[in-house]
Amino acid sequence: MSSKKVFVSGDEAVAMGARLARPHVVAAYPITPQTIVVERLSEMVEDGSLEAEFMHVESEHSAMSAAIGASSVGARTFTATSSQGLLYMAEGLHYASGGRFPVVMMNANRSVALPWSIFGDLRDSLSQLDSGWIQVYVEDAQEALDMTLQAFRIAEDQKVLTPFMVNLDGFVLTHTYEEIIVPEQEKVDAFLPAFKTPSKMSMDAPMNMGFSSSPADNMEFKFQQHMAMMDAMPVIEATDQAFGQAFGRYYKGMVDAYLCDDAEVVLVTVGSITGTARVVVNSMRAEGKKVGLLKLRYMRPFPVEQLQDNVRGKAAVGVLDKDISFGMEGTIYTNINSAMARGGLSIPTYNFIAGMGGRNISRDDIRYMFDALMEVADGGASRKQVEFVNMGVTIDE
């Protein structure tokens, strides 16, 4: 069977990617806007095109618990969630990462209640940055399928053994239809070797699994988790390159820099909004304005050096956050400022909070951000560092 082109939604692309990875177990609970992933996978199991155990669970907490159990005995395990469901899993997220169980999960990025909303922003997954999961954010349906495959190979690497969250913007990616290439099963099988757990259960060698540890040992286990996440960085790069060689699509590892080399200012984006921002960069470049775009693909592990290399010497750096840590700033902005400070880079940075709760981010909004950065670069007046963009009402300054 050769690769084929299909016209599918982001959710369907994830389900097709998951099927190609041949998971032994799928344990997931439906939630908007992830539901179609679960529906398609259950249909695939039903029609026999996916030979997996589909576990019907009564909640996301149970979905994650079941996934951990399956992964702990060496099963390749997939799950998917969104928003409130991710938060309901929160306890289990730490169990999976602390137990070093390489579960792969799709998360449809969605706002967090209250006010209740089914629409997209990043406040769900960014609130779980410290849960010990690798986090990638994809830009389109093809990248969603491709990263579902890469996720298993990275997570199950013996140096990594860390669970992996593939994030898709709710509705913008999960529910829009695109043409994608579905890779051949044989090529995927060659790219993705079987998962070998280091802690195989057997009667000959009974294991004590998930034990507690006293203060004398606990910190060492946490250090191991940190090192596994740091060691994941070269594995992520190597896996992306191997994927590029096998399938012809290379995503440039942890960050994808677009026209950053000679740029005076750089805007950092995460996920699907990068596509809109690229269009704005093109039109501003046509006007002779030296603007660059940095697509931040991974939030954990965080690409400190790659970020530094792409903003060094710039006049201003902007960060688009579809989230806010109330009382401080956008979470991506915090991470980027820290990475820059560690590199001794004292460049003015500006945080644009936009697109929360599903609000649209238009080309004009992004143009506004670049214009603001260019104004700073040209020696304009100082401006607010954290700014909500495209508010529907006037606010007191």
């Binding site: 294991m207 004590n208 040992d217 286990f221």
Partner: protein, 102 residues
């Protein structure tokens, strides 16, 4: 009631000697776990009738049997006193621990 032997786990000297995550071959115990006991159960071997009630009720599985009689593993007994409370022949006394004042 074969009492499994505790295999003492040698303390790691390098981080690589730790297992990958908290999963390891069963039977190893890196720590004793009894430091906060206020009273210790002491079995009077003369009074004991070997009914094994204490073995059944001990929440930590610390009662064990030898040819000489029933004993308590003080490395893991927490001093809860359930065994003494349940003993039908009052063969178990709770005796105040005398910890070093440090």
């Amino acid at each position: 009631m074969n009492r499994p032997k505790h295999i003492l786990h040698k303390r790691p000297q390098h981080i690589d000697e730790y297992p990958v995550g908290p999963t390891f071959r069963a039977g190893y115990l890196p720590d004793k776990n009894a430091g906060w006991r206020t009273f210790r159960p002491v079995i009077d071997q003369e009074a004991c009738v070997n009914c094994m009630m204490c073995y059944l009720v001990c929440p930590d599985g610390t009662i064990y049997k030898t040819d000489e009689g029933l004993y308590v593993d003080y490395d893991f007994c927490k001093g809860c006193g359930v065994c003494a409370h349940q003993c039908h022949v009052e063969a178990i006394k709770m005796v105040k621990e005398e910890h070093d004042e440090q």
